[in-house]
Amino acid sequence: MPYSIKKDLCISCYACEDQCPTKAISHNEEGEFFIDPTVCVECEGFYEEPQCLAICPIDGCIVKLSEVEEV
């Protein structure tokens, strides 16, 4: 299950985008950050922890896509 960014919590710090090994993360002109669920591999095969989650300074900002969809 890929990860997703909660727009209302994100502070647009670029940290996740810089760390993502698959370039799944991008942002638009307004500084909104997105994870492409078709590209995110949860860092499997790259690192032990999802990098975006490990560096994101805001608790609860990056969550499993399922958690976003449920809401």
């Binding site: 502070i11 670029y14 940290a15 810089d18 500084g31 690192y47 922890e49 490990a54 805001i58």
Partner: protein, 472 residues
């Protein structure tokens, strides 16, 4: 003869005079390192580094790095290209600009590509500008060669602890080697890396200033030890900054209090030793531009920059710097005449001075945004720190509000024997007199040195001073 060789002697005299020549040359025009230079030269920060790799409990990451900026500040993020353009524009508009730093809004070294690209562009287009970098130190040793290659010769590391215990109260986690570490494990790695980074800089001839955020209940007890340690490792300045409460930070939520001005002063004195403490640091906004407390950042927004053409002219800048140096030399000579040659030190008094820069008494009491506090004796004057105030007279504010602000200002200056400004109005004058604070505006537009010396002789020693000027 009692010639004074102490670095504390002589008002605002460059307190770096004890440094070896080559180091002094590196810092003498640097407003953050040389107390005297910061009256004449300006620095700016460019916000190109949004990411951070640690969490500090006094930081709210919605805003700029709290190690380098006042809380609650949001800088406009720039690309390296925009940042370089901004630097050139500012350097031509404010030729006193000598230093450009990257300090955030996150940690510059957590954004290595953006940070180093920016420095490369500036170095290429404006090689006369000095570069500096501020970091939490986590990955400093990793980038030491890059820092050296780019001739970044000033690095600031924020180090807040000696012991892992204390550090773990300040840093809940770090991101290191592709992992998130927490608590003591995080604190241990961070401390090791900070001190290793410091050592790597020293070994490579890079000047290091250490910043410490003083949080009395958290790291107050170990700051004197920290100060000794960084000094023995070769840091050449230690800047003890007060923790300032910021909205929504872990410390604010836990009710951790900032130090009182008195506590801060005592801590600075305790740590002073032979080390040069940066008493003039103003915890500037990371994107503030200008001299002293001035901020002209709004003149150089992305929007405005996109519309201008810049012709960078290093020769013109050089001429201006030469003129500034002549002026400084004059003031230095005057200073030697004013103080000194006395056995009797006389009483020490604190004096607040209103200045807009160039080391002159050139600001009115009512419009001053800050006061420079000096400790004056017959042997000289020593700069202690600035105190920020809200200017109580700006046209738009109602009188009632003005009165409250005036009260607030006076409370902040209540331990001073005198206020020296270019002008002091009747109203504050009355209030100040009641509090036994001398109001002195007769030395308007003299150099700060001369005004302090004259004030001291006339009002404290009650000597006759001949009219006629030495300085300014």
């Amino acid at each position: 003869m009692s010639g004074c060789h102490s670095k504390q002697c002589g008002l605002g005299s460059d307190d770096l005079s004890f440094l070896p020549e080559d180091i002094r040359r590196k810092v003498e025009n640097h407003p953050c390192y040389s107390q005297e230079a910061h009256h004449f030269y300006a620095r700016m920060h460019v916000a190109v580094a949004p990411a951070c790799n640690i969490q500090c409990n006094y930081c709210n990451r919605k805003y700029d790095c709290a190690n380098e900026s006042r809380p609650g500040v949001v800088s406009e993020l720039l690309t390296p290209e925009e940042a370089a353009k901004k630097v050139l524009a500012v350097a031509m508009e404010i030729p006193q600009l000598t230093v450009v730093g990257i300090a955030g809004p996150g940690d510059p070294l957590a954004n290595p590509e953006r940070t180093f690209r920016t420095f490369e562009l500036i170095k290429e287009k404006a090689p006369d500008i000095k570069l500096c970098l501020s970091t939490n130190g986590l990955v400093l040793d990793k980038y030491i060669n890059k820092i050296k290659d780019l001739e970044i010769d000033h690095v600031t590391i924020t180090i807040n602890a000696v012991s892992v215990d204390t550090a773990s109260k300040i840093y809940p986690w770090i991101f290191y080697n592709h992992r998130r570490y927490r608590d003591k494990e995080a604190a241990k790695i961070l401390l090791e890396k900070q001190y290793e980074g410091l050592q790597a800089c020293v070994e490579n001839g890079i000047l290091v200033k250490v910043n410490t955020v003083f949080v009395p209940e958290i790291n107050g007890e170990e700051i004197p030890e920290l100060s000794k340690k960084v000094r023995s490792m070769g840091a050449f300045l230690h800047n003890i900054m007060p923790y300032v409460e910021g909205e929504g930070t872990a410390f604010s939520k836990a009710g951790i209090r900032p130090p009182t001005p008195q506590e801060l002063k005592e801590m600075q004195e305790k740590c002073e030793g032979n080390m040069n403490l940066m008493r003039h640091c103003r915890q500037c906004r990371a994107d503030a531009i200008g001299l002293l407390g001035e901020d002209r950042g709004q003149e150089f927004t992305k929007d405005k920059l996109s519309k201008i053409n810049i012709n960078y002219d290093p020769n013109w800048r050089k001429q201006i710097h030469e003129e500034i140096e002549k002026e400084r030399e004059k003031l230095r000579k005057a200073r030697e005449l004013l103080f000194g040659e006395t056995e009797n030190e006389g009483p020490k008094v604190l004096v607040a001075v209103a200045s807009k820069g160039n080391m002159l008494v050139n600001e009115h009491f009512g419009t001053a945004k800050e006061f420079l506090i000096y400790e004056v004796s017959a042997k000289g004057a020593k700069f202690i720190h600035h105190r920020k105030v809200t200017p109580y007279c700006h046209g738009s504010i109602s009188c009632l509000e003005g009165e409250n602000i005036l009260e607030d200002t006076i409370a902040k200056l209540s331990d001073c024997k005198a206020i020296i400004a270019a002008k002091i109005g009747f109203e504050p004058r009355d209030v100040l007199k009641q509090r036994n604070i001398d109001c002195v505006d007769e030395f308007a537009y003299l150099s700060i040195d001369e005004a302090l010396a004259r004030y001291y002789k006339k009002y404290v020693l009650k000597e006759e001073v001949p009219v006629g000027t030495n300085g300014g």
